[in-house]
Structure formats: structure tokens, C-alpha cells
């Protein structure tokens, strides 16, 4: 490399790297950014089995059932428009309960049930998964509604 052009070459390489970073990010975001789904999104758009997503909504009252092994639970997640059955094996967070918000990480199995590998529930009374901010669970109709 001739010394004269070295700065130009470096600047071009840096520019290409930046464009490359942008393209990489955009292509990956296209696949992964729709990472958060509500049950209604699932109904409308469909999610391929095995694709890892976050499913967010409210746990339907009376839907939590514990399996005989003591560590597997089944529950329904709703956003008021659609309901998705889910299973989870593990230690559920303390604030995971019926009628409160939950974001479940996992994937759908072949039969249309959501297999959660991780449950994000409220850490404390002040914490709400940010995707569910502004939503409220209506106890009488078991529906989720936007506040106001």
C-alpha cells in the first residue's frame, strides 16, 4: 500500500465495515425482531414450530394445572382476542399467578402448544414486562384491555 492512499483505503474499509454492520443488523432484525408475540399475533401471523419467540399476555384465571411430577404446569395465555395453551417445566417466578401478566420465552411444538423454557413475571410490584405496559386484565370477562 502506498502511504499516500493509506488513509483513503482505511476510511473506505471502515465505511464498508459500518455498512456491513448495518446490513447484518437489518437482516437479523427482520427474522428476530418480531420476537415478541401476543396470542392474537400468533393466530393472525402464525409461528413456525421450533422458532424461539416471546409470548406475552395474561394468565387466564383457573387455567393453571400442575402435572403429577410437581414441576410441570399447564396454563393458558390470553390477550383478550385469542388464547394459547402453554406448558412450563421449572420453577415459576413467585409473582407468576393467575390473572397477572407474563412473558414466556420458548417455542411452539408440533401440536400448537407453547413450550416455555423461561417465564418472566413481575420481579416486584413495580415491575411490568415492558411489552405489556398499558394493559390491564379484566377479571369479569377474562380479557386483556388497553388501559383507557
Amino acid at each position: 500500500m502506498k502511504a499516500k492512499h493509506q488513509r483513503l483505503v482505511l476510511a473506505l474499509v471502515a465505511l464498508m465495515a459500518l455498512i456491513g454492520a448495518g446490513l447484518l443488523a437489518v437482516s437479523a432484525l427482520k427474522d428476530e425482531a418480531a420476537y415478541f408475540y401476543t396470542p392474537n399475533d400468533v393466530r393472525i401471523k402464525g409461528v413456525a414450530p421450533g422458532k424461539s419467540i416471546r409470548l406475552g399476555g395474561m394468565v387466564v384465571k383457573g387455567s393453571i394445572k400442575r402435572a403429577a411430577d410437581g414441576v410441570t404446569i399447564r396454563f393458558d395465555v390470553t390477550d383478550g382476542k385469542a388464547t394459547v395453551p402453554a406448558t412450563f417445566s421449572g420453577i415459576a417466578p413467585d409473582l407468576f399467578k393467575e390473572g397477572s401478566g407474563v412473558v414466556a420465552e420458548g417455542a411452539f411444538d408440533g401440536s400448537g402448544a407453547f413450550v416455555a423454557t423461561n417465564l418472566l413475571a413481575k420481579h416486584d410490584e413495580r415491575y411490568m414486562p415492558r411489552e405489556l405496559e398499558g394493559m390491564r386484565y379484566d377479571e369479569s370477562t377474562h380479557e386483556m384491555k388497553a388501559e383507557r
Binding site: 500500500m1 502506498k2 502511504a3 493509506q6 488513509r7 482505511l10 474499509v13 471502515a14 465495515a17 459500518l18 456491513g20 454492520a21 448495518g22 447484518l24 443488523a25 437479523a28 432484525l29 427474522d31 428476530e32 425482531a33 418480531a34 420476537y35 415478541f36 424461539s52 416471546r54 400442575r66 411430577d69 410437581g70 414441576v71 417445566s89 421449572g90 420453577i91 415459576a92 413467585d94 420465552e105 423461561n118 420481579h123 416486584d124 410490584e125 415491575y127 411490568m128 414486562p129 415492558r130 411489552e131 405496559e133
Partner: protein, 643 residues
């Protein structure tokens, strides 16, 4: 009176910062570098005043003075003293005061000890530092006064989030803040050098210790934060790509790039404009990190301030400093002369590759972190999580490891490709052997962990190669620093790969008296008892763990309940062996007197944090080595003139 004195000290410090900025401005404008002796005491006094203000706030917390609003909302008289002390910065206002205090003291250090810089550059640097401080003084005094009183004072405080009541976490934020602020000093140096046309090797040597120190602290802060998340959150993971974690990772990525390019500038006088640009980027990332964590724009355990006014204030500061620095860069870049040239096959090229890869990773993490915030502004919510970051950052980090192995084995300026290939022969052979052994090993593992483990072994060997055939006692300390830091990267990578490839997990609901077997461990569940601590009560399991029939060790996983504020946390029981960690989490009771338990055996997981410590240690050795060499040269020169 203590609170009022603290506030007065802050106002006085802000006034001194203004004076410092004016003196530096007129000194530069009028071409009077002899004004420097007047600027320095101002910077020192400003640093002392901020230290006093912060010490006074600590005093208020230790005395549980509930008439101060900040203490009342974040502390509790029944809290152990360590958490009263750490609670000082476990909240928005206190942490911003800590930021300002560290910045003031860093400015004082630059004023006191910097000798190598030209006088005008030194003065411009102190002026830039004062300009940054002023923004943060304004932020504290106008929208986040930590010394505000409350009338009437409440009978007791509201307490500190129990997740934050942990000795490790008490020192995690100040470590990161010291790192952020160190980068602000590097930024001030860059601004000073641009303003006074002094972007050269001497400037790089003056800036390097600050970059190194900041980078060491960021490394330690991230390592500690990762370990905290691992044992405190009870999910068994060590990195969650949480926006707050990314906020600390991004400045680290930029600082790592800057650290390597400033070395090129200091040793070879190359990459001048590039290094200045990176200094701007690195501090911008500290500001973005502060903005993300402090503006309340993210909902997480870290976000204390949910106050749009503060968010806008930091955003405006961010725009002024980053925009101003970029404008200055564009305006003055023509005055930066071309650096020394280098061949395509040279250590410089590897360092450019290092910088490019780090910048690309940084760009990708930045986009992934900000994208959800941007789409939310347009009304729809998405979340970007681990699948996105893993998919891009994973392969790029592995490519970076290749550059890390080859760079130190290539000569500065010019080398022959054949010679480099010959030096890389042993690591390459190790790579092939490791790849074959793992390919035929009776374990199933993913491509990325497999590649990671193979590369970790090869890079570990390559990182030691610069010591090959050297006289070890005469090798300079900073060469050891580089070797150990690079070895740390390989060690950490090996830990990550082992964790994702070999972890065994078991989930059971067990009765007292039951025995659980997993991954060579036998765990006897003896009993479960309620216990009480200083400000919590807990259910604690007694378990006896033994591996392959060895002597049993008792471990105590807990489920802890805090009254103020009401929260339950899981305290995992960790049993560390040289070859891994046993991790036991106690869940809730289910019908039939059974208790949920989640047990992991994580082979070599501790290497992740051991690697982090090695990286920081390498940085420390390089810092000490460089400084010592500087003193020695000066001392010899003085002795020569005396003789």
C-alpha cells in the same frame, strides 16, 4: 446542616468548573499557555469539593437521616450498614453524584500529575473536562438534587430493592462508573489534542493510561455484574442481553478498540484520526449507557428514575456532547496529518481488523438495543433478545479470536506472510487435534460451542507464543500484560463454550429424605427449615451433596422474603469444584410435602469469570509496566544530566 453543606459544595464546584472552562478558553484563544498554572488549582479544588459533597451524602445515608428525601425513599434504618453505605449510589440522584465526584477527582488527577503533555494541550484538556462536568452539574442541581429535604420526615424509609442488597452488587456500579468516567478523560484528551493540533504519539502516550485504567474497571464491572446475575437471579445463565447489560458492554467494546488503536498511535505513530474518532465513540457509548440506565426508558431492576424530564435532560446532554465532538472532529480533522504507513502483512493490519470487528459488534449491539425504543416511538412494540445478538455477535467474536491469536505473532510495520504462518504452526496443529478429538468425542454439541471450544484451545496456546524463546526475566511487564489478557479471552471463551455444551440440568419435586442423582452427583435432601436474617426471613433446605461417592458437603438453597419493600428472592446454593459448579435452586412447595428443585452441574463455567479477571489483570500489568518504564527513562535522564 449536612445536606445544606453538601448542596453548597456542589454549587461551588459547578462555579469553579465554569471558571476553569473560561480560563482555559481565554488561555487558548489568546495563545497564553502560561495560564496553565492558574487552571490547575481550580481543577484540583473542584475535584475536592465534589469528593466532599459525596462524602456528606454517604454520611446522611449512614446516619439514616430520614429528613432527606433521597434517604427516606431508598434506605431503611433496619438495613445492615453495608447496604446503607452502598445505598448511597443504589439510586438515581446518588449515582449521578458519584459520577460527578469521580469526574471531578479524575480532572484533579489530570491537573496534578500530567507532565508529558504540551502546556496548551493540557489546558485544552482541562477545559474540555470542565465543559463535560458542567453539563452534569446542571443535571444534578436542576433536576436531580440529592440533598433535597422532606417535611415532615417519615418515621422510616422505604428500603432498597432486595435484589440489590448483595455485597457483590454494592461495588458493581461504582466500578462501572469509574470506567465510564475514565473514558470521559480520554475524550477530553482527544478534544484537547484536536483543538491544539497535537494528535501524535506523545499525546497517545499521555492518553493511554486513562484508556487502560477505564478499560480494566469496565472489564471488572462487567465480570462482576455477570456473576451477580448468574447467582442472584437463579436462572443459571450468565448473560441475558438485557439492555442494561448492553449499556455496559458497548463502552467496553469501544474501549477495547480504542485501547488497541491508541497502542498503534503511541508505538508506531499510525491511525491518528482513527484513534481520535474512537475516543469520541467510546465516551459517546458511556453517555448512551448512562442515558439508557438513568432515563427510566427501560423497565428493569436498574431503572430507578421514571421521570421524562430527566430522560430529556440526559438526551440533550448526549446530543450536545456527541454532536459537538463530531462537529469538532469534522472541522479539525484536516489538521491531523497522515500517520506512519504500514504494509498489508503487519501487526497494524491485525489491529485494524480487531478495531473493525469490534466496531461492527458494537454497531450491531447498539442497533439491537435501540431498535425496540425506536419502534415504540412509532407505536408498536417489539423485543429484540438473545436470538438476535447470539446470531451475529457469536460468529464475529470467534473471528475476533483469530485476529487475537495472529496479531501478537506478526511484526510491526512489515512482515512476511510465510514467517507469520510458521509462527502460527503450533496453534494450528493444536486446533486440528482439538477439532478431531471433539468431533469423535461421545457428546453432542452445537456448531458454535464446538467452534468456540476448539478456538479457545488454539488461541490459548497462540496467546502464550509471544513468550516463546524469550528470556522471561527480561521480558517487559507490558508484554506479560498482553499475553495474560489474551489468555484470559481464551479462558473465558472456553468457559462459555463448556457451559453451553456440557451443562446438565435436572428438575424434580422432592420430599425431605429423598435422594437425587444427576451428573455424578448424589444429593440427599435432609430437611427444610425457616430461618431469619437481619432484615429477611427464609425457607432453607439442608442438602448433602457428594460427587462420585466422595465426602458429603452440606449446602443451603434458600427462598428469601424481604419485608421492606415486600419481595421474594431465590438464593441459589453454589458448590464450586475445580472442574465446575453445582447450582441448586429451591422452588415452591407442591402437594404432598414436595419441594421443587432445579439442579445444574455446569462443567468449567467458572472459567468465564476467571477469564474476565485475567483480562483485567493483564490490563493492570500493562498499565504498571508502561508507567514504570516511563519513570525509569525519566530517572535515568535526570541522573545523566546530574552526572
Amino acid at each position: 446542616m449536612i445536606a445544606e453543606t453538601g448542596l453548597a459544595a456542589l454549587w461551588l464546584a459547578a462555579a469553579l468548573a465554569l471558571l476553569q472552562l473560561f480560563l482555559a478558553f481565554f488561555g487558548l484563544k489568546g495563545g497564553k499557555p502560561e495560564l496553565l498554572p492558574a487552571v490547575r488549582p481550580v481543577a484540583i479544588a473542584q475535584g475536592l469539593l465534589t469528593a466532599v459533597a459525596f462524602a456528606l451524602l454517604i454520611t446522611l445515608f449512614l446516619r439514616s437521616d430520614m429528613s432527606v428525601l433521597l434517604v427516606a425513599t431508598n434506605s431503611h434504618s433496619m438495613k445492615p450498614w453495608l447496604y446503607k453505605f452502598a445505598g448511597t449510589w443504589g439510586n438515581h440522584e446518588g449515582s449521578m453524584l458519584l459520577w460527578v465526584a469521580v469526574m471531578g477527582m479524575a480532572g484533579a488527577t489530570v491537573a496534578l500529575f500530567e507532565r508529558a503533555l504540551r502546556r496548551d494541550t493540557h489546558m485544552a484538556t482541562l477545559g474540555a473536562q470542565a465543559a463535560i462536568s458542567l453539563g452534569f452539574y446542571a443535571f444534578l442541581l436542576f433536576s436531580s438534587n440529592p440533598f433535597a429535604r422532606i417535611d415532615p420526615p417519615p418515621p422510616d424509609g422505604q428500603g432498597l430493592n432486595p435484589l440489590l442488597q448483595d455485597p457483590g452488587l454494592a461495588f458493581h456500579p461504582p466500578t462501572l462508573y469509574l470506567g465510564y468516567v475514565g473514558l470521559s478523560v480520554a475524550f477530553s484528551f482527544a478534544v484537547g489534542a484536536l483543538l491544539t493540533r497535537a494528535v501524535d504519539a506523545a499525546f497517545a502516550r499521555a492518553m493511554r493510561p486513562w484508556v487502560l485504567a477505564a478499560w480494566i474497571l469496565l472489564t471488572l464491572g462487567i465480570t462482576a455484574g455477570s456473576y451477580w446475575a448468574y447467582y442472584e437471579l437463579g436462572w443459571g445463565g450468565w448473560w441475558f442481553w438485557d439492555p442494561v447489560e448492553n449499556a455496559s458492554l458497548m463502552p467496553w467494546l469501544a474501549a477495547t478498540a480504542l485501547l488497541h488503536s491508541v497502542t498503534v498511535l503511541a508505538t508506531r505513530d499510525g491511525l491518528r484520526a482513527w484513534t481520535v474518532m474512537l475516543a469520541v465513540v467510546a465516551f459517546s457509548m458511556s453517555m448512551v449507557g448512562t442515558f439508557l440506565v438513568r432515563s427510566g426508558i427501560l423497565t428493569s431492576v436498574h431503572a430507578f428514575a421514571v421521570d421524562p424530564e430527566r430522560g430529556s435532560f440526559i438526551l440533550v446532554l448526549l446530543a450536545i456532547y456527541i454532536g459537538g465532538a463530531l462537529a469538532l472532529f469534522g472541522w479539525r480533522i484536516r489538521t491531523v496529518r497522515e500517520g506512519a504507513p504500514f504494509d498489508l502483512v503487519s501487526r497494524e493490519t491485525w489491529l485494524v481488523i480487531n478495531n473493525l470487528l469490534l466496531s461492527v459488534i458494537l454497531g450491531v449491539v447498539l442497533i439491537g438495543t435501540l431498535y425496540p425504543l425506536m419502534t415504540e416511538a412509532f407505536g408498536h412494540k417489539v423485543s429484540v433478545g438473545a436470538p438476535y445478538f447470539d446470531r451475529i455477535a457469536g460468529p464475529l467474536a470467534l473471528a475476533l479470536m483469530v485476529a487475537l491469536a495472529a496479531g501478537p505473532l506478526t511484526r510491526w510495520r512489515r512482515d512476511s506472510a510465510r514467517a507469520v504462518a510458521r509462527r502460527l504452526l503450533v496453534p494450528a496443529v493444536a486446533l486440528v487435534i482439538a477439532a478431531l478429538m471433539l468431533a469423535f468425542a461421545p457428546v453432542r454439541m452445537g456448531t458454535l460451542p464446538w467452534l468456540g471450544l476448539v478456538l479457545a484451545i488454539a488461541v490459548g496456546i497462540a496467546s502464550l507464543a509471544p513468550l516463546w524463546k524469550r528470556r522471561l526475566l527480561r521480558t517487559p511487564l507490558f508484554t506479560y500484560g498482553m499475553v495474560i489478557a489474551h489468555l484470559g479471552c481464551a479462558v473465558s471463551l472456553a468457559g462459555m463454550a463448556c457451559d453451553s455444551a456440557f451443562t446438565v440440568e435436572k428438575l424434580v419435586a422432592a420430599r425431605p429424605g429423598d435422594t437425587i442423582r444427576t451428573a455424578g452427583w448424589t444429593l440427599r435432601f435432609v430437611q427444610i427449615l425457616p430461618i431469619a436474617g437481619d432484615n429477611w426471613t427464609a425457607l432453607q433446605a439442608d442438602m448433602q451433596a457428594s460427587r462420585n461417592g466422595g465426602a458429603p458437603v452440606t449446602i443451603h438453597p434458600q427462598s428469601r422474603f424481604f419485608a421492606a419493600p415486600p419481595t421474594t428472592t431465590t438464593e441459589a446454593a453454589l458448590l464450586t469444584r475445580w472442574n465446575g459448579q453445582l447450582y441448586v435452586v429451591l422452588g415452591e412447595e407442591v402437594e404432598g410435602n414436595r419441594w421443587q428443585m432445579r439442579i445444574w452441574w455446569k462443567p468449567f463455567v467458572t472459567l468465564i469469570w476467571l477469564g474476565g479477571i485475567l483480562i483485567a489483570l493483564g490490563g493492570a500489568l500493562a498499565l504498571v509496566g508502561r508507567e514504570r518504564r516511563g519513570w525509569l527513562i525519566k530517572w535515568r535522564a535526570r541522573r545523566a544530566t546530574e552526572a
